[in-house]
């Protein structure tokens, strides 16, 4: 089934859907411009704006549901952005509204949580300003009705991410991580930019409607566009080979990691691929590459996750891995889209819940992140333990919890598409079972390995309530979306639907294998980290462990492939500029000056030599005249 037609829209809540973007933007502006005057109530304003955006989102959603299924793609025109090139408008359709609800919903919860988490930070107002800025940009990203608008949001969330990773910029590591995130993302953006060049050159338009409608036509360089879009997606979603920034990005405050680097922003790549599905469907090669990238990343992320002792980095590895699943699904075409987005949403819930839980733990443990210094926290932090546990169960695919539905769907869809991909995804699921269990057991169970001055305690209500609400989503979200193909049906006007929806086969071979592998993984983790002693210092481990700990040598690779040669190139260029180009200029000047210095010696000061030069000159002139005259 093809995506539905897009209809212009005005009036109603959809007509003012731009408020969703404007409100948090206004919040950010007030908080940044207002300065210290807003310190006292700034965080409330931030929360309020985010919640207001959520409310508008819900109302929009309701209004959209009120329309006939084929009528659910609405474009709200805003203004002429670049005359003759880009008209800015918002596309409200099932795909974008799903994101809107996720972003504003989870976003609002994280806003609320941050009130507590950041309560002692002198920069709390600024933090909320950045969060609001992020929400606005992310909403623009998903709501824009054209590639340029999407790109503005795309870079806007990049900026917010930069600001928030570097929120504690006085730490050089944070500042470096922020910079790295931005620059690596820019590599991806380069791909996105070139994709847009191709789109414009091919279609003379950037608007989703006409462009995607014609994407499947002949003579469209769909493969090139698809691969370039994928490059953009890899940057934003930390897929191989542009994954390296995400682990470093954990330098940011934990709510940021939850919201931006787990639940929403990093999934923008998935959004992009799904939104541009028409190009990928027209380009099997590009699709294949997407699935390969997805699988490679899901394995790489999982491997990294198994070896990290830093709780946030372990979770970040997991995020990479889970997004790998989504990308894999998105690469499968219409059959995977619903699962990709559904997994994205449920992942948003359970990963946010776990990150916030990790934040709660860190809050309790004086910002200690090393899981080897945790252990046995279950008894002192009941709520955190419970909500984290539910999230943990959801992500490993514990039957009937959210992750079970969505991830299993992806595995089955992949299996149908290509058994190799499918089995690799299954292995990934097993790894997930291991590394998530490791995190859970190391943190909450086993012996207490706390530092001496640690006095863990449960977090305040403002932090625990969001946890509780998120874990509700972790538990029930999957079932709600998947059972009866509810989400697929809802999404189909926006992204199309497969001819034959995937049936639900809980007892298929892959399904069973997955469960078994997850159980083995979890069991192994229990024996290794739950029951037995966890050494306070990480053991040296095998080559494989080091491999995983060093992020699969991604940074080392970047360093030796790009940074060092880049530094040399820079030095060479500077040298060349100073000595070569400028040297030529200055050399010319010096040459003229030098020749002046030497030539002036001919002016010896002796009248007789002057006379000689005159006589010589006269002879030359006469000779020349004779020569010319006799020609």
């Amino acid at each position: 089934m093809e995506p539905a037609e897009i209809f212009p829209h005005s009036g109603g809540v959809i007509g003012v859907s731009w408020l969703m973007i404007a409100l948090p933007l206004l919040g950010a502006a007030i908080l940044l411009l207002g300065g210290r005057r807003t310190d006292r109530w700034g965080h409330f304003l931030g929360v309020a704006m985010s919640l207001a955006s959520f409310v508008v989102g819900v109302l929009t959603f309701v209004e959209l549901l009120g329309l006939g299924e084929e009528q659910r793609r609405r474009v709200v025109e805003l203004f002429e952005f670049i005359p003759g090139m880009v008209n800015m408008g918002l596309l409200v359709d099932p795909l974008s509204i799903s994101f809107v609800l996720l972003i504003t919903g989870v976003g609002s919860l994280i806003h609320i949580y941050s009130i507590g988490y950041m309560s002692h930070d002198p920069g709390r107002r600024r933090f909320f300003a950045y969060l609001n800025l992020f929400v606005a940009a992310m909403l623009l990203l998903v709501l824009a009705d054209n590639y340029v608008g999407m790109f503005i949001g795309w870079e806007g969330v990049g900026l917010a991410s930069y600001l928030l990773i570097g929120f504690w910029q006085h730490k050089p590591s944070a500042a470096t991580a922020a910079q790295k995130a931005f620059i690596v993302n820019r590599v991806g953006d380069f791909g996105l930019l070139v994709a847009m060049f191709l789109i414009w050159t091919t279609f003379g338009s950037f608007a989703y409607g006409p462009v995607l409608g014609a994407a499947g036509d002949a003579n469209v360089p769909a493969t090139a566009i698809g691969l370039l879009l994928l490059l953009g997606a890899c940057g934003k979603s930390a897929q191989l080979p542009l994954q390296s920034w995400l682990l470093d990005a954990m330098e940011g405050p934990t709510p940021v990691s939850a919201l931006i680097h787990a639940a929403t922003m990093v999934t923008a790549g998935v959004y992009l691929i799904v939104r541009s599905g028409a190009f990928f469907q027209a380009a099997p090669t590009a699709q294949l590459v997407v699935t390969i990238v997805g699988v490679a990343t899901l394995l790489a992320g999982a491997i990294i996750g198994t070896a990290k002792d830093d709780i946030k980095k372990a979770l970040a590895g997991s995020t990479m891995s889970q997004i790998g699943y989504m990308v894999l699904a998105a690469g499968l075409g219409p059959i995977g889209y619903a699962f990709a987005i559904a997994h994205l949403i449920t992942h948003g819930f359970f990963k946010a819940s776990m990150f916030l839980g990790a934040g709660s733990v860190m809050h309790a443990m004086n910002d200690e992140v090393d899981m080897r210094k945790y252990g046995g926290l279950a008894s002192v932090m009941k709520v955190t333990w419970a909500t984290f546990g539910l999230g943990y169960l959801a992500i490993i695919g514990f039957p009937l919890l959210s992750g079970y539905w969505t991830k299993d769907g992806i595995i089955e869809a992949a299996m149908e598409h290509s058994p190799i991909l499918g089995w690799l995804a299954v292995i990934g699921a097993g790894l997930t079972g291991f590394y998530m269990s490791r995190v859970f057991f190391m943190t909450f169970h086993g012996k207490r390995r706390w530092a001496e001055d640690a006095h863990p305690h449960e977090s305040p209500a403002v932090m625990t309530w969001p946890l509780i609400l998120l874990s509700i989503g972790s538990v029930f979200g999957g079932a709600f979306l998947i059972v009866g193909n509810r989400f697929m049906t809802f999404l189909s006007p926006a992204v199309g639907a497969p001819e034959e929806p995937l049936g639900f086969h809980p007892f298929s071979v892959p399904g069973i294998t997955t469960l078994v592998l997850v159980a083995i993984g979890a069991g192994y983790a229990w024996t290794k980290y739950g029951r037995s002693e966890v050494p306070a210092v990480a053991p040296r481990g095998s080559f494989l462990t080091t491999f995983a700990r060093r992020d699969l040598y991604g940074d080392a690779l970047n360093e030796s492939l790009f940074m060092r040669p880049g530094q040399w190139l820079t030095r060479l260029a500077v040298f060349f500029d100073n000595r070569g180009v400028d040297g030529l200029v200055n050399g010319l000047a010096a040459g003229i000056g030098g020749s002046s210095g030497r030539l002036r010696r001919i002016q010896t000061g002796f009248a007789r030599s002057y006379a000689l030069s005159m006589l010589f000159g006269a002879a030359v002139v006469a000779g020349a005249l004779l020569l010319v005259g006799n020609l």
Binding site: K171, A175, Q179, L193, V194, F197, W200, T201, N219
Partner: protein
């Protein structure tokens, strides 16, 4: 009303008035200069409001005989391109005056000697008159006169008020530019005599030169002058020296406006006077531009001095502008024109904020800073915003222009040159831009507070007044460039029509329900 003549005359009279103030009236000189520049700004805005793009090519036209013996007219008029650049000058000058309030006082942290305040502000106003004049001139001779005469006030501003290496930088700047200008003079003379029209009026000279070989030679004369002015690689080495040594305010006008005369000249004169030669030289210019984009960015990464770094970023940006001009599509050329304006604002802001930093710390070396964000958050924040505009972050003004340039270039059908590759290489500039800007910001503003900046004060009221309008423009034009583009587009269209290049047509046009596209 002779708007343009008034715009030129007011700052000149203001400059004379400032220069004639009695000794010791420094404060009055500053206030008077600011007042005059604000009057110019208001007049410019009033004029701009009356500008209607549809009414023929030229607006506010004035033509008088100046030197009939040479066929020279005092002829001024504006089209959309000139108008936005005049507006850029008129906006930047009051900002620069306000920002340069203490530049000549000798109060900076590096204890520069006290210099004549009157002269400084008087020169600034003279420069403003010439900047307006050079964009308004529609007589090629008059353009040349302003083109060269502009050098002198800037030369004195760099040489008298600049940093330690000021006289080297000033001389290099002047001689390099003068050299280019003189080559252009030869071309101007030859154009006059070969065209045989006994006039320098630009509109009458369009299409006057038909012979392709002649076109090429004359093109070369004009182009080298403009390439030095802009500056394009490899004629760029004067700029880092000049911009780094100039006081921040002068650097803003140098890079923000003066250098635009080069790219403006390419668009206005090279393209229209020598259309065939322009097309012939596309490969050369495009290669130079692309080298400039990448090379400028790479060298910028390696700089240790803030102002030099910003200067190199500008070299990269000028590559974009030249690329846009010579891709000769409506989008690329309009984008290039818009780029000229946006670059003025964003680089202007960067230079000014760097100037504030240097005024406080007394050094322009990046290594002498660290953790400025901790002690002066506003200063660092505005620095970041200006920097982000420099790296063309979407939502800030430079993005629109850079995007238009690159998209326009990529899609250019002109001469079947294959503009895709240059555009793609140009797009790598976005990655490099992120590196040079963010790395500079990181070293200057983040990390633990360096001892030397620990007492640094945040922006004061005057400085806020300087920065706020710039940032407002950067953000405003980032989201709503339409007012400028509506003025620029018709003018660019006329220019391209005179070059007679094929318009861009999408390979697979789609019916856009919202009328985008052609």
């Amino acid at each position: 009303m002779p708007w343009l003549s008034i715009l030129i005359a007011v700052p000149v009279l203001g400059a004379v008035a400032v220069a004639l103030l009695p000794k010791g009236s420094d404060k009055a000189a500053k206030q008077l200069a600011l007042g005059v520049s604000l009057v110019v700004l208001v007049l410019t805005l009033v004029m701009a409001v009356q500008f209607a793009p549809g009414n023929g090519r030229w607006a506010f036209q004035e033509t008088y005989d100046w030197i009939p013996s040479f066929g020279v007219h005092y002829a001024v008029a504006v089209d959309g391109i000139a108008l936005v650049l005049i507006a850029l000058s008129a906006v930047l000058v009051p900002i620069v005056i306000l920002a340069s309030w203490h530049d000549a006082d000798g109060t900076g942290a590096d204890n520069p000697p006290k210099r004549s305040v009157k002269t400084y502000f008087s020169l600034l106003l003279v420069l403003e008159a010439m900047m307006i004049g050079v964009f308004a001139a529609t007589d090629i001779f008059l353009f040349y006169v302003f083109f060269e005469a502009m050098l002198i006030p800037m030369y004195f501003m760099i040489g008298s008020y600049g940093g330690a290496q000021r006289s080297y930088a000033a001389v290099k700047f002047l001689l390099y530019s003068l050299f280019g200008g003189l080559l252009m003079l030869v071309a101007v003379i030859a154009l006059y005599s070969i065209a045989g029209k006994s006039t320098f009026l630009f509109p009458e000279l369009i299409g006057a030169i038909q012979d392709p070989t002649t076109q090429k030679w004359l093109f070369a004369g004009f182009f080298i002058a403009f390439a030095i002015k802009a500056p394009l690689w490899p004629f760029h080495t004067w700029l880092p020296d000049a911009a780094a040594q100039a006081p921040a305010g002068a650097a803003v006008l140098l890079v923000g406006v003066l250098d635009k005369v080069g790219t403006y000249g390419m668009l206005r004169f090279c393209l229209e006077l020598f259309p065939d030669a322009s097309k012939f030289f596309i490969p050369l210019v495009v290669v130079l531009s692309v080298i400039g984009i990448v090379y400028g960015a790479i060298v910028a990464i390696g700089q240790t001095d803030m102002k030099r770094l910003i200067a190199y970023t500008s070299i990269s940006h000028f590559g974009f502008i030249a690329l846009g001009v010579f891709a000769m599509t409506a989008n690329s050329a309009a984008g290039a024109t818009l780029y000229m304006v946006n670059h003025g604002f964003s680089t202007g802001a960067l230079f000014l904020i760097a100037g504030f930093l240097i005024y406080r710390r007394g050094s322009s070396y990046i290594a002498d800073y660290g953790g400025v964000r901790n002690v002066a958050p506003l200063l660092a924040g505005t620095f970041l915003i200006a920097g982000l505009s420099g790296l063309s972050l979407p939502g800030l003004s430079s993005f629109v222009s850079e995007f238009m340039v690159l998209v326009g270039t990529f899609s250019s059908p002109v001469e079947n040159f294959g503009f895709e590759i240059p555009a793609i290489i140009g797009a790598t500039g976005v990655v490099l831009a992120a590196i040079y800007i963010l790395w500079m910001y990181k070293r200057v503003a983040t990390g633990p507070t360096a001892e030397s900046v620990s007492g640094m004060k945040d922006l004061n009221g005057r400085e806020k007044l300087v920065i706020v309008p710039l940032i407002a423009l950067i953000i405003g034009l980032g989201f709503y460039p339409k007012p400028l583009l509506d003025v620029i587009n018709p003018a660019v269209g006329t220019t391209l029509a005179n070059v007679s290049v094929p318009a861009f047509a999408p390979a697979h046009p789609v019916a856009d329900q919202k009328g985008a596209g052609q």
